[in-house]
Structure formats: C-alpha cells, structure tokens
C-alpha cells in the first residue's frame, strides 16, 4: 500500500496525434457510449501498430501485460480523460481525477484547466519526443501508466492506489473486480468481499477519499460471508469501524493478534504450500480490513513483515513447526518494535525532560503517555498541559491516565493553544507515521500546534517508533488522508443538533478529517528507538534499516 507519488511531468511521451484526439474527445464529450469508446481504442491500437517499429512493440506489450497483472495501477480507460490522466499526480492531482460520467460543478472547470495544461505539456513533449519515439502513445489503449520507452531510463510513475480514487467509477469497478478475484479457487466464485458504500456529501477537495458512516454497525450494511473471512478478522474489522480499537499502536497490535489466531486455525490444503497459500489467504482479510477502516502505515509495515516471514518458510518445514515459528515471529515483532521500542524511547526522552518543565501534549498518544508516566516515576518534576479537540476528544483519555498517576495536569481545547503557549517549555507529540521526506503524519491538529509552537520558539519533539517510518512522500494533507463520519460533527456540548438535517441543505458539506501532515521545519527533534535524530534524517534511517534486512 506504499505508493510514491511523483510530481514531475516529463515522463510521458506523446505523439503529435494527441492534440487531435483531445479536440475530438472534447467535442464528443459524454456522448460516447461504451462501444464507441472501445472502437476508438481499437482504432488507436491499429494506428499505433502500423506506425511502430519492432523494438517498441515488446515494451508496449510488456506494459500491457503489466497492466492487468499489477492491479495497483488502475486508471480510467475512457478517451475523454487522457489529458487529465497524463498529468501524473502533479499539483492538479487532488482535484483532477474527474469522472467524466459524474461531473460535479467543481470538477468540470478543474478538468478543462488540467486538460489545457496537459495539452500544452503534451505539445512540448511531442516536440521533444518526436525524434525517436513514434506512435508510442495511444493513451486509450494502455491505461494511464506513462510509457518508459526502452531507450530512456525513466522510472515509471506509480498511480494513486484505488482507495484514493473514490470519485472515479471505473476505478471502483476495478476494485470490486479485484476483490472478487482475490478468492482462492476453492471458495464459491459467487461469494465476494462486498464493497462498502460511501455516505453523505463529500467536500470536493476530498472527494477522492472514502467517507463511511458509523451509525449502523458494519455487519448490518455488508453481508460478510463467514466462510470467506475468519471471524477474528470480522471482529477486528468491526472494532476498527466502530472506533473501539483506535490509535496506531493499538490497531497494529490488534491486527497482529488477529493474524496469530488466523495462523493457529489455519490448515494447509492438500497440494498447496503453506508459504504461498497462507499469503493468498491473508489477502482478502486485508482488503476487508481496508474496507472497514483504511490501513495505517504501521499496519502496512506489520503486514509486509508477516508476508515476508511467511514466504520465507522453507518448504520442507512441517506445518506445526511452521505455525509455531510464525507465531513466534509475530510475538518477537510486537515485543521488539513496540514494547521495547517504547522503553528505549522513554529512556531517551527522560534526558530531555528537566525539572520545572511545562510539557504540552496533544490528543492521546500511547507512547507520549508512557514517556510521561516513566518520567514521573523517575521523580522528574514537571506539569503537563493536555490539549484536546473535537469531535474525538481523545485528550480526555490522556488526561485520565496522567491524573491517575498523580501528574499535575491542565486541560485546554485547541482554540486556546496560543493563549497557553507562553507558559510551555516543550511540546511532545506522537506520530501516526513518519514519511520519507521528513513530514510527520499525525492526528489532525498536530501541525497547527507545531506551527504555533514554532512561532513562540518552543521546541517540538516528536516521538515515533521506527516501525512507523514509511516510504511514502507527501507534502500536503489532501492527497492521502482519511475522512471520518461527518455525523460526528453534529452534536455539540449542550446536546443540541442544529446541523442534524445537514444532508438536506445542498450547499452544506461537513468535513471530519482524521490526519494531517506537519513539515519538518516545525519539528525540532524526533525521538526514535534508534536515538534522537532530526526530522530530515528519516530517509537515512530507512536506508539503514533496509540494509539490515
């Protein structure tokens, strides 16, 4: 689930006939029926084949092969969308993957702007590329993956994964098909993992993300065939979707425990190898969990680790022994990466907490709470200011834990942060994930606190275990985020619900974001289990970790 979004443009090579296509496409617009579109595609293919040299063919074929095999690069195949597609994930990206079939007023002007931009780029590229590469184009034939002609060593741009292209019906159809395909052959082909449907009006800037409702529990909305999904996973999915298990560490640990149960109950079918079959068995579970609540970076890393361990099981290993080994691996992982890491981080953090400190924390981070409790036990004299925000009000949980230990606490809402900051000597923040370019992804509101702290010259320390480091690169909070149930915003403290009928007002949208991204300039120090590093050194740690593995 890790995707690198490349934002430079020079990766596609397009022939001069593109411009005609675009004009034709614009004129034809939505009137093209499916057959017409297919016909157009075929025509393009013919044109391309006639113009092409032999050596270009293998690259195109391999591209096409790659396309169905790698389900991670879906893209709409309609001819009306090519220019917008071809602008790979560049700045227009969040707005621009517009569905031609369901234009919203906001999307349409954006689409034509993106198209114009892409046209211009296409023309430039055409001039540049017209020398060597002919007819290497037909964007309709091959989906959005920009071609890397064999003569150039250009990296392939990875498309956004399906779960962030929700406003694109083609993508959704592909996703449904993919979920179907994930069945292992013995299961009935008719049963498949159902797709969860979105709820309510989505703010256009985030229309590419899912927005689910928590009003009714998941099992009432979806029919989950029990033969397909292990009950432990169903329980986990329910816990995630209802918010019973929340918090990055808690979710990862719950996931690993559920996988342990799955492994315990697993039996290798005859004529199958454990190392391959088990991995395939896990795939539908992971898709299901993704439907319940989008996977976090820490969960992604944990899953990668488990898959690696499973595929490394030697084939001559007996089933009992293999299962025991796997269970052991998972226990080690939890112990090393979470429990011991927390101890190491607490050790480093205590050096940074001096007597008389006033520490500000935001929301409820299990790691930060652990650190503060440890420091208090080591007899450091400090007091804590807990900042909280609606609608989750997670700070109350943190407050409860700290006060129970006997730590002196103050509780404010995030709107009072600039009032209280002159008193603060340090800010401790938890993180959901640390991205490869040094950005910190954390609960929404974190970047606000970091910004205000920077303005007051208060040092900001982020505490994060290394298993949360992910290879993704993100510079803004729009591209990849999570939308929570908008109905959470309706209720106020006094219990009145003036927004109750928000769905009836067509111009009103409620936005309940879960994560935001903090740039590294606002963070002074990251405390990890490897030591204290500046925010910009995350890629070095990732590199060192990869070398170790």
């Amino acid at each position: 689930t890790d995707v690198i979004i490349e934002s430079s443009v020079g990766y596609f090579t397009e022939g001069p006939e593109r411009k005609d296509d675009i004009v034709k496409a614009k004129q034809e617009g939505k009137e093209l029926t499916k057959e017409e579109k297919q016909r157009l595609r075929k025509e393009k293919k013919q044109q391309k084949k006639s113009k092409e040299k032999k050596d270009d063919k293998p690259s195109r074929d391999s591209e096409k092969e790659k396309k169905p095999a790698s389900a991670a690069s879906p893209a709409p195949q309609t001819p009306t969308q090519p220019p917008a597609q071809k602008a790979p994930s560049a700045a227009p990206a969040p707005v621009p993957v517009p569905a031609s079939e369901t234009p919203s007023a906001a999307d349409k002007p954006a689409k034509s702007k993106a198209e114009l931009k892409a046209e211009r780029r296409a023309r430039q590229e055409a001039e540049r590329a017209s020398k060597g590469k002919k007819g290497d184009v037909g964007p309709q034939a091959a989906p959005g993956k920009p071609k890397a002609p064999p003569s150039e060593l250009q990296p392939v741009v990875k498309r956004l994964p399906e779960h962030v292209q929700v406003d694109n019906p083609e993508v959704l159809k592909k996703l449904a098909k993919k979920l179907e395909r994930q069945q292992t052959p013995e299961y009935n082909a008719a049963t498949k993992i159902p797709l969860r449907s979105d709820y309510g009006y989505k703010v256009s800037l985030f229309s590419h993300l899912h927005q689910y409702s928590r009003k009714a529990p998941l099992t009432q909305q979806l029919g989950i065939p029990s033969t397909v999904i292990h009950p432990a996973i169903v329980r986990l999915g329910l816990q995630y979707s209802q918010g019973i298990v929340a918090g990055s560490n808690a979710r990862s640990v719950a996931l690993l425990h559920a996988f342990k149960q799955v492994i315990r109950d697993y039996t290798t079918p005859p004529n199958e190898e454990l190392s391959r079959d088990l991995v395939n068995r896990l795939k539908p579970y992971i898709s299901f969990l993704n439907q319940c609540r989008p996977l976090s970076a820490s969960m992604g890393n944990a899953i990668k680790y488990i898959k690696k361990e499973i595929s490394n099981i030697p084939s001559q290993c007996k089933e009992e022994e293999a299962k025991r080994k796997l269970l052991n691996c998972i226990d080690c992982y939890i112990n090393e990466k979470i429990v011991l890491a927390a101890k190491a981080i607490a050790k480093y953090s205590i050096e940074k907490i001096s007597d008389g400190d006033v520490i500000l924390v935001y929301g409820c981070s299990s790691l930060v709470n652990h650190i503060l409790c440890e420091a208090f036990e080591k007899n450091r004299k400090f007091r804590v200011i807990v900042v909280d925000s609606r609608p989750r009000l997670e700070g109350r949980e943190a407050l409860r834990r700290l006060v129970q230990k006997g730590i002196n606490c103050t509780y404010v809402l995030i709107s009072a942060v600039s009032y209280i900051l002159p008193e603060v000597s340090k800010v401790f923040l938890g993180a959901h994930a640390l991205l490869a370019n040094g950005y910190v992804m954390s609960r929404v509101g974190t970047s606000q606190i970091a910004l205000v702290a920077k303005a007051f010259n208060v040092p900001v320390l982020v505490c994060c275990e290394t298993y949360k480091f992910c290879e993704r690169v993100q510079t803004d909070s729009f591209v990849s985020n999570e939308l929570d149930d908008p109905d959470d915003l309706i209720v106020t403290r006094t219990g009145t619900t003036q927004l109750e009928h928000w769905q009836e007002v067509p111009s009103l949208g409620l936005l309940n974001l879960v994560y935001d991204v903090t740039p590294p300039d606002f963070v002074d120090l990251v405390i990890t289990d490897l030591g204290m590093i500046p925010c910009t050194s995350v890629p070095v740690v990732l590199r060192v970790k990869n070398v170790d593995q």
Partner: protein, 301 residues
C-alpha cells in the same frame, strides 16, 4: 596515574600550541594505550574511558570529549578476534596512529574546501580565536586573494586580539570590533566564517559565546554564515535550546571544580541552531546542517 596523564597532555599542548586540544587529547590517549598494562579488552576500554574523563576534567571543551569517544570507537571498530591480547593491542595502536594521522590532515582538507568560497575583495567577519579559520584565511591569502577581516574582541578572554595579531602577520587588513558592534558591522560584511568547538547531531554548533548572536544577526541581514570544523568535533548531543547544553561544557574545567553556584558564573559557550547555519566545511566535505546527522549516523552506528 592520573597526574601522569594530565602532565603528558599539558606537555603536548605546550609543545605545539597550534594543535587542537582534541588532537593533544588523542595523542595522550594513544600514549596511555601503549603504556597500559591491562589484561582484558574490556578492561582496556574501561581504562580508556576513565582516561578520557580525566582529560575532560582538565580541559572541558566539547572537542576533547568527542575526540576521545571517536578515538575509542575508531580503534574498537576492528575485528578484535585475535587470541593474543598483545596482538590486539598492536592492532589498536596501529589504528590509533592511523586515526591521528587522518585528523592531523583534517585542517588542511578543510582549508582546501573553504578558501574557494572567499572571493577577491571579500570582507569577512569572524569570532574569537579559531585556528581552523586562521588556516583557511592563510590558504586564501596564499592563493593571492585580497580580503579584509573583522574580528570580534570576544570577551571575557579577549581571544579576538590574538586572532588579529596572527592575521596581521599574514598581512591581512584586520579590524577588531566590540562584541556589541556585530550588528553594526554586518552590513559591510560579505560573509561570516566561524570555527566550532563541537558540532551536534542536529547540525547546530557549540562555539564561543557570542556566536549565536552573530548567527542571528547574519540571518537577519541575509549574509551566509559558514562554519569550519574538523570531523572529530562531531558529538552525540542534541540540545534543544541554550539551557539544554550540559553544564560540563559551558564552563571552564577549573570553574566547574571550584565554584559551587554555577548560576552566577558566565558561560563560555553557546549553542547555534542549524536553521541559522548556511554550510559546514569539514574534512568529510561541504555539508548542509541536515547532512551532519547522516554523517554522524555513519560515524557512530
């Protein structure tokens, strides 16, 4: 034993006043290693650590402590699998000599990298007495560049005057300014070059008091702020602000030993955060402050 150590160290310092105190410390440690009659590798390491502590007690600069730690790490980085202790010791000694040789060349390397940044007709501002900066300016003068230098007086020990004397010997036009006149003089200056006593993990530096002020002013004036430091000055500290720098570095060694109430003493060093530094010139190359952490990870891990 301690007295012997300290005497040797002082002798080294006196012999070559141009040598960095850290280099003298490392020479002392090497000599100590040669004379040591320990039986086990672990015991050897323990006694080396003890020796480093003694030396830090004598000269409390950051460089001595970082140099000692790096020396220890460098010599123990070899595979010490030999059965015979004396053979192991021999290997360690050889590594120690190698290390010493490398760092003796470090100032020359730094000077070679940095002098190209001094253009003809440049006006340079520097702080207090730094032998590395002196070496850089020597090299630039040798390359027939014309430049003039402003040096701050750098109280409380007026080290700036020493620097001015040394520069006059090179026939470089030099002006000594008050520490308080840094803001005043910065509009005339093209670039600021300072040395460092220690380079910390965040990419910031620890240097003579007054450096932070100079850095803040040069940021306000948009003048480049360059730091020249050898790589053995990289230390595993991560201060968040001035207060966070450990007391043992802030004051002179004898002050630490004699005075009871440190809050009345004037600190000798301050911490400059990486956001104010443009580039660092080290024998590992020209680094940006964020690259320092990468280098440190390579050196220490």
């Amino acid at each position: 034993r301690e007295k012997q150590l300290v005497e040797y160290f002082r002798a080294q310092m006196r012999k070559d006043p141009d040598m960095a105190s850290a280099v003298a410390a490392i020479r002392t440690l090497l000599e100590f290693l040669k004379r040591d009659k320990g039986e086990t590798i672990l015991g050897l390491r323990e006694s080396l650590k003890w020796a480093t502590d003694c030396l830090t007690g004598e000269d409390s600069s950051v460089a001595v402590s970082s140099g000692g730690e790096l020396f220890l790490r460098f010599i123990s980085l070899t595979s010490l699998e030999h059965q015979d202790l004396s053979r192991c010791k021999k290997v360690m000694e050889e590594r120690g000599e190698l290390f010493l040789e490398k760092i003796s060349m470090s100032r020359t390397k730094v000077a070679k990298l940095c002098h190209t940044f001094i253009k003809d007709g440049a006006k340079i501002l520097t702080h207090s007495y730094s032998r590395v900066v002196l070496r850089v300016l020597e090299k630039a003068a040798a390359e027939k560049k014309r430049f003039s230098v402003y040096v701050t007086e750098s109280q409380p020990d007026s080290a700036g005057r020493q620097m001015a004397e040394a520069l006059r010997k090179l026939n470089v036009p030099v002006t000594v300014v008050l520490d308080a006149a840094v803001g005043y003089v910065l509009e005339k200056v093209d670039l600021v070059i300072v040395g460092a006593e220690g380079v910390v993990e965040s990419g910031g530096i620890i240097n003579k008091i007054g450096t932070y002020q100079m850095a803040v002013c040069s940021k306000a004036h948009n003048k480049p702020f360059y730091v020249v430091a050898e790589s053995f000055k990289f230390v595993r500290l991560y201060p968040l602000n001035q207060q966070d720098v450990p007391d043992k570095f802030k004051y002179k060694a004898d002050t630490l030993k004699t005075v009871q109430n440190l809050s009345e003493e004037h600190p000798m060093i301050d911490y400059t955060p990486p956001s104010l530094i443009t580039l660092l010139f080290t024998d590992l190359g020209v680094l940006t402050p964020s690259a320092v952490s990468d280098e440190l990870i390579k050196l220490y891990l």
